[in-house]
């Protein structure tokens, strides 16, 4: 099926969503997604940041869709034409959504563990306004411990439901859901039951904001001061293959997370033993430094240089070794 997004055509399989078609194209035309998670069934459609305009429904029925649609849950039709960043309507709507997402968010980034790898930060930076027009008290909640390793800080939550889907689909029985409704609804474990499940730690990885944080890492360090290293171990859990990212500060492993792709989604879910208990270099087989996008704050002053120093430019051996950086420089 052929779909055109912002004037760029791509061939995709039937049943692909607009968002995934855009991800095949890549680049700036990929709509942001706060609630959609490709590894979780039925996720998406809730945050509305990925709204796009369908200016032509399909080859058969060329009528445009009357409203903006959530690209993560709308499947493509043959000949569909979609506008994302080329439509002022979409830009305006997205700006509104970002503002709505932020009005009840505490913006406590300076003390938040997620800062630096927070999707809401990126979203606000790219699509939001400088100042908020909201002049009222923000909703607040008390912090809740979900088990002894995870802390829930509902005040920061944007209710994307990703953790609920993890509890539904990755762990074997759910004691994790939503209580109440509207802007006072909250993630809950029902009567504060601790999640005792081998995969419960994955709720931390899927959380786009700092609402679910790792208590073994809490306040230990800022992520941009740590070095990400890929490693694996021979995990004896049936559903975990032990491929992780270790976050080092000096010699010390501060935390362990699953490996995340360019859209911040984990590649494979990992078990709690890997995540919380194996915090010694001796537990792991190191594969090498993790590539961090130069756009991310985590990459600052790390393995790759954005602009190779002049000496590199004169030495053919070093030019060859830093090929990627040179390519990036010309692209920029």
């Amino acid at each position: 099926m052929k779909v055109t997004i912002d004037g760029i055509s791509v061939e995709v399989e039937a049943g692909t969503t607009i968002l995934n078609a855009a991800r095949i194209i890549g680049g700036d035309i990929v709509p942001p997604a706060m609630c959609y998670y490709s590894k979780l069934k039925d996720s998406g459609g809730k945050c509305r940041t990925c709204l796009v305009k369908v200016s032509k429904g399909s080859e058969k029925d060329p009528r445009p869709m009357p409203k903006l649609v959530a690209s993560c849950r709308t499947t493509v039709m043959d000949g569909m034409e979609v506008q994302n960043i080329t439509s002022p309507e979409v830009i305006e709507a997205r700006k509104g959504i970002v503002e709505m997402l932020l009005i009840n968010h505490p913006l406590d980034c300076p003390i938040c563990d997620q800062a630096g790898e927070c999707h809401l930060q990126d979203l606000g930076f790219e699509h939001g306004a400088v100042k908020t027009r909201y002049e009222f008290d923000r909703r607040t909640f008390n912090k809740i411990d979900i088990g002894d390793k995870i802390q829930l800080h509902m005040t920061r939550c944007i209710l994307c439901y990703r953790c609920v889907y993890v509890a539904d689909q990755i762990t074997d029985h759910r004691i994790h859901g939503i209580l109440n409704r509207g802007d006072h609804s909250e993630i809950s474990t029902y009567i504060h039951a601790a999640i005792e499940n081998d995969f419960s730690g994955n709720v931390i990885d899927v959380c786009p904001v700092g609402a679910l944080t790792d208590k073994t890492f809490r306040f230990k360090n800022r992520v941009w001061f740590t070095n990400a290293v890929e490693a694996h171990r021979d995990c004896d859990h049936a559903n975990c293959n032990g491929k992780v990212t270790l976050w080092y500060k000096g010699e010390e492993v501060l935390r362990v997370t699953a490996r995340k792709d360019v859209y911040g989604e984990v590649e494979e879910f990992i078990c709690n033993t890997c995540r919380f208990d194996k915090k010694k270099t001796a537990d792991w087989v190191i594969e090498g430094p993790r590539k961090v996008s130069h756009k991310s704050v985590i990459s600052s002053n790390h393995y790759e240089m954005l602009n190779p120093p002049p000496v590199v430019k004169n030495n053919p051996v070093l030019i060859e070794a830093n090929k990627e950086q040179f390519e990036r420089e010309t692209r920029l």
Partner: protein
């Protein structure tokens, strides 16, 4: 006096019992449909009648039935949406309280037409008496052989269940209703797939309002074409209007669609005029979620033609100068009512009832409520009106279900038509807490439209 199709026998004592209802010609439509018509013919009759959904959106019921997917070996369901919670609307509760058998008769015909073996009536949790009334009526109908196995010897089986809801407004949205019916949290589903393809338990489902289902009974009794003769244009048949607010005789009225609004509001047969000799200031014509109109624009369209109680006439002028028939929750405001306070009250309702699933509605309704609360209590600023319009625009159309639109429209329309009252609340803040803005110019005759230059 117009003929009543639904409420014909409403004043007969004991009409809520099977014997009396039957003696007044009840269940004749079931006999006619099951014995002489095929399911497709029933659907055809409803299509011919032009019946439009009475729950608010006004989608043609026959077309909705026609869309139902009919895969082999998969059960189909008819679900009656009795989760009536729109502020200003109380017609379904009235119908269920006094004429429960009319709804059950309509359910049997509807289920037969759609080929459903099991049907549900999803009743709002607060309506406990109505749930008991319906269950009693179902038991009576069952013992009379109109429900259960082999109805009237035609070989058609039907089980009818009443399901109490939890009392959430959002469960009146059809996909949220189905989620709730399945025993889950009542969050609206993301469409597509529509319920006609995958509804309750993934099976094709039709969800209809109480009044739409009840209206099937006169359609079958009289024939679709006969029914279509009542009403005007594409608004056929009769409609129950829950009239409330500052009128002399509040209550549920059955009107022929196409009745002039002036007659409905002022004639003694219906509302009987504005109470206490006051003057009309504004009207919400179809339940809290439709745009509010000032008196002059409500009685006359922008072209100075009299407005009629019909889907088309009420929406004439679109969102600029029109409103919608909605669910028929007619609320009249006299000159002593404060539109700002009323808008705040409506928004407070939507803030409370937003399910919290998608962000524009979850955050936006609360924001609008807080701004309106500030305005009402004299702490607003002149920029608040523009802020409200902007926030309502950001909500409208960007949400999963229509609750976002329903929350945005009353605010946007109140500011469009009553902006000077909102501004007065800012400029005369101390006065605004002690007295009302009054009627002002809201009932003045509309200016004559100037003929276009030749």
């Amino acid at each position: 006096m117009a003929r009543k199709l639904l409420l014909e026998h409403i004043n007969v004592p004991g009409i809520d019992t099977y014997e009396v209802y039957r003696s007044k010609g009840g269940y004749a439509a079931v006999e006619k449909a099951l014995k002489t018509l095929s399911p497709d013919e029933v659907v055809e009759e409803v299509k011919k009648s032009g019946l439009r959904g009475r729950g608010g959106a006004g989608f043609p019921t026959g077309m909705k039935w026609g869309f139902l997917a009919k895969p082999e070996g998969v059960a189909r369901y008819l679900v009656c949406n009795a989760d009536e919670s729109e502020p200003g609307t109380f017609k379904d509760r009235y119908l269920m309280t006094y004429l429960p058998h009319l709804l059950i008769e309509g359910m049997i015909i509807g289920s037969y037409a759609l080929g459903a073996k099991v049907s549900y009536i999803y009743v709002r949790g607060e309506m406990m008496p109505q749930i008991r009334i319906l269950e009693k009526a179902i038991a009576e109908a069952k013992s009379a052989g109109f429900l259960g196995k082999n109805i009237l010897g035609t070989g058609y089986d039907l089980e009818l269940y009443v399901q109490p809801g939890g009392g959430a407004y959002i469960c009146g949205e059809e996909t949220a209703l189905l989620e709730s019916l399945e025993g889950k949290r009542g969050n609206p589903r993301i469409k597509p797939p529509f319920p006609a393809i995958a509804g309750v338990w993934g099976c094709p489902t039709v969800v209809n309002n109480v009044e739409s289902i009840a209206a099937v009974v006169p359609i079958i009794n009289e024939g679709g074409e006969e029914y279509a003769k009542v009403g005007v244009g594409r608004s056929t048949g009769t409609k129950l209007i829950s009239a409330g607010g500052n009128i002399v005789k509040p209550g549920v009225y059955e009107i022929d669609l196409g009745l002039p609004v002036e007659e409905f509001l002022y004639s003694d047969e219906y509302c009987g005029g504005i109470a206490n000799g006051k003057r009309l200031k504004a009207v919400v014509a179809g339940g809290s979620s439709v745009p509010i109109l000032p008196a002059n624009l409500f009685l006359k369209t922008i072209n100075n033609e009299p407005r009629l109680m019909s889907y088309e006439s009420l929406s004439e002028g679109g969102f600029v100068s029109g409103t919608m028939l909605g669910s028929g929750g007619f609320i009249a405001f006299d000159e002593d009512q404060c539109i700002v306070r009323n808008t705040w009250n409506f928004t407070r309702f939507y803030h409370h009832e937003s399910c919290g699933q998608c962000s524009p509605c979850r955050e936006g309704t609360g924001w609008m409520e807080k701004v309106l609360h500030r305005l009402e209590h004299g702490h607003g600023s002149l920029s608040d009106m523009d802020l409200l319009v902007d926030v309502s625009k950001k909500i409208e159309g960007n949400t999963i279900c229509p609750l976002g639109d329903a929350a945005a429209w009353p605010v946007a329309s109140a500011i469009r038509h009553f902006r000077d009252e909102f501004e007065w609340h800012v400029t005369h803040a101390s006065e605004a807490v002690s007295r009302n803005y009054g009627l002002a110019h809201y009932a003045d005759p509309l200016p004559k439209p100037e003929p276009a230059a030749q």
